[in-house]
């Protein structure tokens, strides 16, 4: 695509259209007040310039009703903006159920993407048009920020903590992907593109895959790191079985309960002793430094997949493949 000069960014998602309406409203209010203030200042400053013969009798010192008016009007306007913005933000923070979940790992200075079907890419993200896509993001090192201006979405990508974001593209094409949080020397080169494709084309693109789906890669890691010697399904296993674990409540040794979501699973891999399951001993060593973030995500995907193979197919499955069901939120 030819770089072209523009004054307003393209709208390529549902979010973009909504945000722009609010933005234009604010722009209108802003222009109105700036113009009002400037015009009034100029009018007064010229009319009452020193030496001009004008009526200066009884200059007002204060005027309480006027003060109230110009306190209440801005207050009302900002409250409208607050409510409107908070509403849109609230919606943008809640991904629809059943959206495809793509893993994104940020590291100095690249974006690594893995699709649930297995395809992985670097500094590129291919997604279908017209279908919401959920991204789960984490950083290997410092804080990055995943930003697609044409979608008006952004989220910081933190080390040690998963962020989620969802995209709802309405337009095919190639769009910028930026890192928006300063992350070191080549921060400005941590950029890429998002390709939004027609669903048919997207399927074709996906079909060209030779990579393993994350849960398969996760299973291999699970075996390679010999997790299966302890985490077995047999009753005499030294560590809890992971089958059907994802999204379930787990009773801990200290008497509290925790939901086995990705945050808990990640913590249990990098920092196993922080939460001990009731009835088990703190035997597990840490895998921090041995597994990278991508590997951890794959193992979590594997644990997630264990749920489905055991139980009958989840009811709310989406059409074209086995989806990772969202029972956790």
């Amino acid at each position: 695509m030819e770089p072209q000069f523009r004054l307003f960014p393209e709208q390529a998602s549902v979010e973009a259209q909504r945000v722009d309406v609010l933005y234009l409203f604010q722009l209108g209010v802003g222009v109105f007040f700036t113009a009002l203030i400037c015009l009034v200042i100029f009018y007064f400053a010229i009319k009452y310039r020193r030496g001009a013969k004008v009526d200066r009798s009884n200059p007002p010192k204060k005027n309480i009703p006027l003060e109230v008016v110009w306190t209440v009007i801005p207050l009302a306007l900002t409250m409208v903006m607050f409510g409107w913005g908070a509403r849109l933000f609230f919606d943008s923070q809640r991904p629809p159920l059943g959206a495809d979940e793509i893993y994104v790992v940020g590291k100095q200075w690249m974006w690594k993407v893995q699709h649930p079907e297995g395809k992985s890419e670097i500094n590129e993200l291919h997604i279908p048009v017209g279908r919401p896509v959920k991204l789960k993001l984490i950083s290997e090192d410092v804080i990055h920020s995943f930003y697609v201006p044409e979608f008006r979405v952004k989220t910081d990508v933190l080390p040690g903590r998963y962020s989620t974001i969802w995209l709802n593209p309405t337009k095919t094409g190639r769009f910028h992907l930026f890192c928006a949080e300063y992350c070191g020397t080549d921060h400005s080169k941590m950029i890429g593109h998002v390709y939004v494709m027609e669903p048919a084309e997207y399927s074709k693109w996906l079909a060209g895959t030779i990579d393993q789906p994350p849960h398969v890669a996760g299973e291999l890691l699970f075996e390679r790191f010999r997790c299966n010697t302890c985490h077995r399904d047999t009753p005499d296993a030294r560590c809890p079985s992971l089958r059907g674990l994802f999204g379930r409540q787990v009773a801990l040794a200290d008497g509290s309960n925790v939901i086995a979501d990705e945050k808990y699973l990640r913590e249990s891999i990098v920092n196993p002793n922080s939460k001990i399951v009731q009835g088990y001993k703190p035997l597990m060593p840490t895998y921090q430094g041995q597994l990278n973030e991508q590997g951890i995500l794959q193992i979590i995907a594997y644990i997630q997949s264990l749920e489905q193979t055991q139980e009958p197919p989840a009811p709310a499955a989406t059409e074209d493949r086995q989806p990772p069901t969202e029972t956790n939120d």
């Binding site: 007040f33 200042i41 400053a45 009452y48 200066r56 200059p59 007002p60 006027l66 801005p74 933000f89």
Partner: protein, 537 residues
Amino acid sequence: MNEARIPDRHYLNADFSVWSWFFTTDHKRIAILYLISITLFFFVGGAAAVLFRLELMTPPGDLVISETYNKLFTMHGVIMVWFFLIPSIPAVMGNFLLPMMVGARDVAFPRLNLLSWYVFMVGGVFTITVMVTGGVDTGWTFYTPYSSTYANTHVMTTAVGIFIVGFSSILTGINFIVTTHTMRAPGLTWFRLPLFVWAQYATSLVMVLATPVLAITLALIAVERGLGVGIFDPALGGDPVLFQHLFWFYSHPAVYIMLLPAMGVVSELITSFSRKRIFGYSFIAFSSVAIAIFGFLVWGHHMFVSGQSMYAGMVFSFMSMLVAIPSAIKVFNWTATLYKGSISWDTPMMYALGFIGLFTLGGLTGVFLATLAVDVHVHDTYFVVAHFHYIMVGGAVMGYMGGLHFWWPKMTGRMYPEGWGRFAAIIIFVGFNLTFFPQFVLGYLGMPRRYHVYPEEFQVLNVMSSAGASILGVGYLIPLGYMIWSLRYGKVAGPNCWGAKGLEWQTPSPPPTHNFEQTPVVTEEAYDYSIPEASPG
């Protein structure tokens, strides 16, 4: 005017020895020491900006390498924030004027005041030496874990320098609070104080309450780097977002340390050049205090997308909307002050009117940023850069320049050349808008900040911005030239060249060492222009 002459004895010629300057406890001389230091720092910080604006003329990184670019914008931010903007109006004009405005012979703790300048200089020289010789590339925000673990530039030494400088702010703040409370002249009640004093008072509260938190946060970064313990690095068990909370708990109020004094200056300028009592005195006074208080409750609006809870985001968004209201009240009251005034278009007034316009724009774009959904898009883009430059430069620096011109005759006894003054004011106004207005557009288009290399479609707007920056740079050099020129050749000003109210105008220019021949007694409200002042001629 022809009988105006420089008094025989004043604070500048009281003693000519170097010793008498470096060990002075006279608040006016300390103000001059600050003026010289921060002017120097301003041009160092400005030079960094010139270099990276030059680099941004073209999309690829062709003038400097990324490491250098990153060090340049960090240097610009660190120097401008901590070594120019924060000390600018408080330490120069506050020091010079606050005791005079309250009718005192000096600040409450003159030796502490001198100590604060030394602390400032030690921190300043130390930091700038580190930044110029080695450099630091974390940005002025020092976000962890980049700054605490990954950066291999001189983070620790820079943090130590800023840590030191923080104490200068704290000492100045304590001095101003105590001076305002205990040193007021007989008859000078709180509601007869000039609004500049109110603004300085509110600023001092923020300095005293916020700066220690920054100091301890930077100390923790230094400890983390030194010992390799994960206070903020999640790989070692720390929490990087905690750093952001601590940092912005200081740095958002710090914005008001820069802005509130400028608002105080503008209140003085508007009344003096309208020859009219300020409209809604108590509203302007209390809005300063309101801004200082609300300013402490909005830090989370820097973190809408950094993974803090959605509900925390909503609370901070709401609070940030509220902090806009006192600012709006001020703007409306200043505008209303012009009504039925007698307005002269002298240089300080041009800066004041420019301030109102630019601050309005900067404030309104702040409301955009406080709006959650819009901030998600423009956070960390050039929109933010443009917004805070409208506040910091369009607001704080415009106020500073206006105040400097207004009180220059008081400080030096001589007038700056008025024609040149107006010319420079226009150049600065035009250059400023050309530099920063395109950045709003760039930001909404999605250009992230701190980008050394950028996509080609952003070039046109970047070239406009760089062109504006060159005009702005020239605009700042002109006053430097004519101000120095005026020290020798400027017209003798006389005690009250503007026909202004306020105690500082009732003493000769330059003032005697102890400010007043005898302690003034105040019998009227501030800005009572209904009683005509002796015409300046």
